[in-house]
């Protein structure tokens, strides 16, 4: 049986040929691996590569929102999937200041995301987890939250309140009233 050195003595060109074939083998393995890895990695990174944008949601006719009152509105999340069940719902606090002036708040506490409760009597939002408290206008009142409540963008369309929402707001990716890149 010939070894590499036998080949080399018999035919000096064999070395380059063998080396070339070796490199080709590695190259084929490499190309095959990368070709397989790209779609798999793409799948795992999918949520980041192609993020979904917030969408406008109909919150109902204006007369459902009395002036100087705040109320919780349940809607279906426009970004929900077919298997989300009840987690496909979402909610927002709607504060009608006067006329067409609104504030729409995410119920997620800006501290660590727990659901804040609204108390009309004292005009405060209170968080059950770590004791964050916010004023009626969403400003931070007390406790550990680093900022006021997240706000959503809204518009009035043919007498109906439309709100731009979808993604879960977090400190660096707040509600649609502030975020820039992710809104439709």
């Amino acid at each position: 049986m010939n070894t590499a050195s036998d080949d080399q003595q018999a035919n000096p060109n064999a070395t380059t040929r063998r080396t070339f074939m070796e490199w080709c083998s590695w190259l084929i393995l490499g190309v095959g691996s990368v070709a397989t890895a790209i779609p798999i990695l793409g799948f795992f990174l999918g949520p980041v590569i192609k993020p979904k944008s917030d969408e406008w949601v109909d919150f109902g006719p204006l007369d459902e929102f009395p002036e100087q009152m705040t109320r919780l509105v349940d809607v279906l999340n426009p970004l929900r999937g077919p298997n989300d069940g009840m987690t496909g719902k979402t909610a927002a606090y709607v504060r009608r200041i006067e006329g067409e002036k609104f504030q729409i708040f995410s119920p997620h506490c800006t501290h660590l995301g727990c659901p804040v409760s609204w108390f009309q009597e004292s005009g405060l939002y209170m968080c059950p987890c770590h004791g964050g408290v916010y004023y009626e206008d969403g400003a931070h009142a007390s406790g550990p939250p680093p900022r006021g409540l997240y706000e959503f963008k809204y518009r009035i369309d043919q007498g109906r309140l439309m709100v731009l929402l979808g993604h879960l707001p977090t400190l660096q990716d707040p509600g649609s009233a502030e975020s820039t890149g992710k809104t439709a």
């Binding site: 795992f44 990174l45 949520p47 980041v48 993020p51 979904k52 917030d54 919780l72 349940d74 999340n77 970004l79 929900r80 999937g81 077919p82 298997n83 989300d84 069940g85 009840m86 987690t87 496909g88 719902k89 979402t90 909610a91 119920p107 997620h108 501290h111 660590l112 995301g113 727990c114 659901p115 804040v116 409760s117 609204w118 108390f119 009597e121 004292s122 005009g123 405060l124 209170m126 968080c127 059950p128 987890c129 770590h130 004791g131 408290v133 004023y135 009626e136 009142a141 007390s142 406790g143 550990p144 939250p145 680093p146 979808g166 993604h167 879960l168 977090t170 400190l171 660096q172 990716d173």
Partner: protein, 487 residues
């Protein structure tokens, strides 16, 4: 008949040759010093591993009936609890065994730390062990998520919000973790994959390496103050000890057998008596009347998150875990030789005591959560009768305002109500009328300002009531500043 059976077994042994491979491993020698009572400290690792096996068995069972879909998981849990034969028991065993595993892994680690068993030549065993601890905690958290109820849902939300604070890549990591822009079906399926495939897979491999190292490097002998570890001579001395050692199986294993058996009895007993955990309220993002609480092992973290100064919080959330984990990994690198006995390692003993104290104090605070408002106190806890007896109409009006303006959510009267603010039972001995008015209108010291929410008369009535809140015989608070009210 007997010879036929032996013949049958020998047929396999001839091919498997287990007597040459597995049997010597099972009979690996253990130092004689473990024969004394100290040997009972060596049973925690094997018991933790047994509970891991129990987790796999019960986990497979649950995997056959649990539906990892956001829309159906909650109902499938109720189905397992109430309709599947012994489903509740399987869920209960899985839960209590998980709790036991977390406890035993920590106890095992503490014992190894205190007895200096992580020192030369067993440093890598410790490092893999720390990895096993992290994987166990990972299993605990992902398992909590699969219990798709309100606690689990909002607990996951807290985790997501913490990750969202990581500078620059936070939002991207959040979307990767949730599998999209919201917490829903893709999120639950991801955590199912983590809990059932990814983390157990890594755990298996790490456990295999851990056991390999335990057998290769041998069980550490109980520490003796006069025999510090010197890498130059340790192995030689240790091998000398092994010459008179006892075989692990069955001699030494008998202690493990007893402790494993008792632990299993405790797990099954707790499961039968206390039953499974949850599910609590459904994971409905539109239900605001929830008070999410993490599973008990995460309560200290819950307390840290409530008590950290806001300016340092992001740093505490993101940097402290890295420091703690790095310190655990590096323990054998920085103190890999020398004294092993806890009697000569006061810093090590103090470190364990300090950790336990911090954990227990924070845990206790996490149970009480004095920082959280009591959401239903304003309507559910009436003003004690003794505090309104014989009061004027204006003062009574003030008591009503105290209730209506949700003050009780943060302030207790006679110990009942929120504990976020001070108990108001004897507030009049601490604050003067002027100070009370200022505090109500302007807030401050963690209290919201109520100036916009109350008119003059309401504030006046409320403060008139608060002024009556002092025990009999106590003087009202007096201002240290003399104010001239003559004009």
């Amino acid at each position: 008949m007997k010879s036929a059976l032996m013949k049958f077994l020998w047929w396999f042994e001839h091919r498997l040759e287990l007597r040459k491979t597995i049997w010597p491993v099972m009979r690996h020698p253990i130092p004689r010093d473990l024969r004394t009572q100290v040997g009972w400290l060596y049973v925690f690792g094997s018991t933790a591993m047994t509970l891991f096996v129990l987790q796999i068995i019960t986990g497979i069972g649950l995997g056959m009936v649990y539906v990892p879909s956001a829309g159906e998981a909650y109902e499938s849990l109720e189905h397992i609890n109430y309709e599947v034969e012994l489903g509740w028991m399987l869920r209960a065993i899985h839960n209590w065994s998980a709790n036991g595993m977390v406890v035993l892994v920590v106890v095992h680690m503490t014992q190894v730390f205190l007895m200096g068993a992580y020192k030369y030549p067993r440093e890598l065993t410790w490092i893999i062990g720390v990895l096993l601890l992290l994987l166990t905690v990972g299993m605990a958290f992902t398992g909590q998520v699969l219990r798709w109820d309100a606690d689990s849902y909002w607990g996951l939300g807290v985790g997501v919000a913490m990750i969202g604070r990581i500078p620059w890549i936070g939002p991207q990591l959040v979307e990767l973790l949730m599998g999209g822009p919201t917490m829903g079906a893709d999120t639950l399926s991801r955590f199912f994959a983590l809990h059932v495939f990814i983390i157990p897979g890594i755990l298996f491999v790490a456990l295999g390496i851990h056991l390999y190292l335990v057998v290769r490097k041998g069980i550490s002998e109980p520490p003796v103050p006069s025999e510090p570890v010197d890498p130059a001579t340790y192995v030689e001395k240790y091998e000398e000890k092994l010459k008179t050692g006892d075989p692990f199986f069955p001699d030494v294993f008998l202690r493990d057998a007893v402790f494993i058996g008792l632990t299993l009895l405790v797990v099954v007993g707790l499961s039968a008596i206390l039953g499974p955990k949850g599910p609590s309220a459904p994971p409905d993002p539109t239900l605001m009347q929830v008070e999410p609480l993490p599973d008990w092992y995460f309560l200290p973290l819950f307390a840290v998150l409530a008590l950290s100064p806001p300016s340092l919080e992001t740093a505490i959330i993101l940097i402290a875990p890295v420091i703690i984990v790095a310190a655990l990994f590096l323990v054998p690198i920085f103190s890999g030789k020398g004294q092993r006995s806890p009697r000569r390692r006061p810093v090590a003993v103090l470190a364990v005591i300090l950790f336990l104290l911090c954990y227990c104090v924070l845990w206790q605070l996490g149970v009480q959560e004095p920082w959280s408002p009591h959401m239903s106190a304003w309507s559910g806890e009436p003003v004690p009768e003794s505090m309104i007896k014989g009061r004027s109409p204006k003062q009574l009006q003030g008591a009503a305002i105290l209730q209506e303006k949700t003050c009780r959510n943060c302030h207790a009267l006679d110990g009942r109500g929120g504990q976020r603010g001070p108990d108001l039972t004897d507030v009049a001995t601490r604050l003067t009328r002027d100070q009370l008015v200022r505090q109500v209108i302007q807030g401050g010291g963690n209290m919201p300002a109520y100036g916009k929410e109350m008119n003059r008369d309401e504030v006046d009535a409320l403060v008139s009531f608060l002024e009556t809140l002092k025990p009999d015989g106590y003087a009202a608070a007096e201002s240290s500043v003399v104010t001239d009210r003559s004009d």
